[in-house]
C-alpha cells in the first residue's frame, strides 16, 4: 500500500535541473562515445576493406583466415570480445614478450582496438557484398585501359561499392554508436556511463536515464534520416539502363 502510494509521488517529483548540473559531465561522456565510434569506424573500414578485397580475390590461405575470423567474430557477443581483450590479451602478451608478467593494455586502448576489430568483421561483409554487386565488365574495362589494380579500385570500383553500400555502412555505424555503451564494463565513461555515475551521486536515476535516451534518440534518428537520403540518391541515376 505504501509503495503504491509512493510511486506517483516520485513521478511528480521529477527534477530536471539535476540534468543541467550534470550536463558538462554528460557532454564529456558523449564526446567519448563519439571518439570511440569514429575510431572504431576508421579501423573497421580500413581493415574491413582489406578483408573484403582478400576474400574477393580469393587470396590463398589469407582468405580462409579472414573468413574464419569473420565467422568467429560474428558468432560471439561483443561484450565477450571486450572481456577477452581486457583480461586475456595482457596475459598472452605477457607470456610472449613480458617474460611471464602480464602487460595491461588499459581500458581505453582495449575499447578502441576491440571495437575496431569487431566492426571490421561487419564492414568487411558489407563491402564484400558491395564488391560482388559491381559488374564484371567494369573490371574488364579497367584492364582494357591498362589501369593498375590500385587505380582500378581507387577510381572505379570502390567509389561504386561505397555508393551502393553507404546506407548499410551508415546503419551499421548507428548500431556501433549504440554499442559503444558497452564500455561501461571496462569502467569507461561514455554517455551512458556518465549518466549512471551522476545518477548514483544525485539519486536521480529516472531523469538521467530519460535524458540519455532522448540524446540517443535524437542522434540516431537524425542519422537514420541520412540513411534514407542515401538510399534515395542511389536509386536516382539508374533511370536509363541499356
Amino acid at each position: 500500500m505504501r509503495q503504491a502510494a509512493g510511486r506517483p509521488d516520485a513521478m511528480s517529483d521529477l527534477d530536471f535541473t539535476v540534468v543541467l548540473r550534470a550536463w558538462p559531465y554528460l557532454l564529456s561522456g558523449l564526446q567519448f562515445s563519439f571518439a570511440l565510434t569514429v575510431t572504431a569506424f576508421a579501423i573497421g573500414m580500413v581493415l574491413g576493406t582489406t578483408f573484403a578485397l582478400i576474400q574477393h580475390h580469393e587470396v590463398p590461405v589469407l582468405s580462409q583466415v579472414v573468413r574464419s575470423y569473420i565467422a568467429l567474430i560474428r558468432s560471439i557477443p561483443l561484450i565477450l570480445v571486450l572481456f577477452w581483450f581486457f583480461f586475456l590479451v595482457p596475459v598472452v602478451l605477457g607470456r610472449f614478450v613480458g617474460g611471464g608478467r602480464s602487460i595491461p593494455i588499459g581500458p581505453t586502448y582495449t575499447a578502441f582496438i576491440t571495437f575496431g576489430l569487431f566492426e571490421a568483421a561487419y564492414y568487411s561483409e558489407i563491402i564484400r557484398v558491395g564488391l560482388r554487386s559491381v559488374n564484371k565488365g567494369q573490371f574488364e574495362a579497367c584492364q582494357a585501359l591498362a589501369l593498375s589494380s590500385f587505380d582500378t579500385y581507387r577510381s572505379v570500383i570502390m567509389p561504386q561499392v561505397l555508393k551502393v553500400a553507404s546506407p548499410i555502412i551508415l546503419s551499421q555505424t548507428i548500431i556501433l554508436f549504440q554499442d559503444t555503451s558497452l564500455v561501461y564494463v571496462l569502467s569507461l565513461t561514455d554517455l551512458v556511463g556518465a549518466a549512471s555515475k551522476m545518477a548514483q551521486l544525485n539519486g536521480r536515476l529516472v531523469e538521467m536515464y530519460l535524458t540519455v535516451a532522448v540524446i540517443y534518440l535524437a542522434i540516431c534518428s537524425a542519422a537514420s534520416q541520412c540513411v534514407a537520403v542515401l538510399r534515395k540518391r542511389n536509386e536516382l541515376p539508374r533511370v536509363v539502363r541499356q
Partner: protein, 263 residues
C-alpha cells in the same frame, strides 16, 4: 575466277605486311575452359591499318580470340605478339600491350559514377600521365569526333545506348591506341541506334585505324573490311575479302552461316 579473286586480295595484307611486321600476330593460339576448347590452334596476322571483321556462330570462339589479344582472357598455349611485344604472363608486357590496344565491349562498360568527359580522361591521366587539362582537351577533341561533345558533362545513365557506345569508343580512342578491338559493339543496341555506332566505326576505319571487329553487321563488313574471318568451333574456317566471302564462300559452314544471318 573465284580463286583468282581470292588470291589477288589475299596477297594484299601480305604485301602490306612485307615491309613492316604485322602489328598483331597470333600463332597457334589455344584456349580451353575445362574440357571445352574455345580456341583450337588459331593463327592470324593483322597488318598496320588493316580492318578485320570476325564472324561466326555463337560459341565459335570469336570473342575469346579478340579478348586474348589484350589479355583480358588468358591463353593456354600459342603466341600473341602485339606491336613487337609478346604477351606472356608478365604484367609489364600485358600493360604495355593494353596501352596500345583499345577495346569496345558489347555492354559498353562505361564507368557509371563518372561523367562522359571523366570516363574519357581517367586512363590518359592515370596511365599516360597527362595533366587533367591535357586529358580534357584530348577528350573534348575526340568526343567532338564521335559527335557527342554536347553530352560531355552528363553521366552514362542519362544517355541512350547508341550514345553510350560512342562514348565507349571515344574513351578507348583517348588512349591513342594503335589497334582497336570491337566485341560485338552493336549487339546490345536497339535497332535504330545501330547505325550511329557503325557510322562512328566507319569514320574510324577511314582514318586508317587498325581494327578487329567481332560483328554480324555484314553491311559494315562489306564497306570497310579488308578481310572477313569466319570462325566455327574454335578454328578459323575461312578467311577472304568481303566480296568473295559474301558472294561465294568457300566452305559449306560459312555458306550455312550466311544463309542464317542474311535474309
Amino acid at each position: 575466277m573465284m580463286t583468282l579473286r581470292g588470291e589477288k586480295i589475299m596477297l594484299q595484307p601480305e604485301s602490306d605486311a612485307s615491309g613492316t611486321q604485322p602489328i598483331v600476330m597470333v600463332e597457334r593460339l589455344v584456349r580451353r575452359y575445362g574440357a571445352f576448347t574455345a580456341l583450337n590452334s588459331v593463327s592470324l596476322a593483322v597488318g598496320k591499318g588493316e580492318k578485320i571483321v570476325i564472324c561466326g556462330p555463337s560459341g565459335s570462339g570469336k570473342s575469346t580470340l579478340i579478348r586474348c589479344i589484350n589479355h583480358i582472357e588468358r591463353h593456354d598455349s600459342g603466341r600473341i605478339v602485339v606491336d613487337g611485344i609478346e604477351l606472356r604472363d608478365q604484367l609489364a608486357d600485358i600493360n604495355s600491350v593494353r596501352r596500345e590496344v583499345g577495346m569496345v565491349f558489347q555492354s559498353f562498360n562505361l564507368f557509371p559514377h563518372l561523367s562522359v568527359s571523366e570516363n574519357c580522361m581517367l586512363a590518359p591521366v592515370k596511365v599516360r600521365k597527362l595533366t587533367r587539362a591535357e586529358a580534357r582537351d584530348r577528350a573534348m577533341t575526340i568526343l567532338r569526333k564521335v559527335r557527342i561533345e554536347d553530352q560531355a558533362d552528363k553521366y552514362p545513365g542519362q544517355l541512350s545506348g547508341g550514345q553510350q557506345q560512342r562514348v565507349a569508343i571515344a574513351r578507348a580512342l583517348c588512349m591513342q591506341p594503335k589497334v582497336m578491338l570491337f566485341d560485338e559493339p552493336t549487339s546490345a543496341l536497339d535497332p535504330e541506334m545501330v547505325q550511329e555506332v557503325l557510322d562512328t566505326m566507319v569514320g574510324l576505319a577511314r582514318d586508317g585505324m587498325t581494327m578487329l571487329c567481332v560483328t554480324h553487321e555484314m553491311g559494315f563488313a562489306r564497306e570497310v573490311a579488308d578481310r572477313v574471318v569466319f570462325m566455327d568451333q574454335g578454328t578459323i574456317v575461312e578467311e577472304s575479302p568481303p566480296e568473295s566471302f559474301f558472294q561465294a564462300a568457300k566452305t559449306e559452314r560459312a555458306r550455312n552461316f550466311l544463309k542464317q544471318i542474311i535474309r
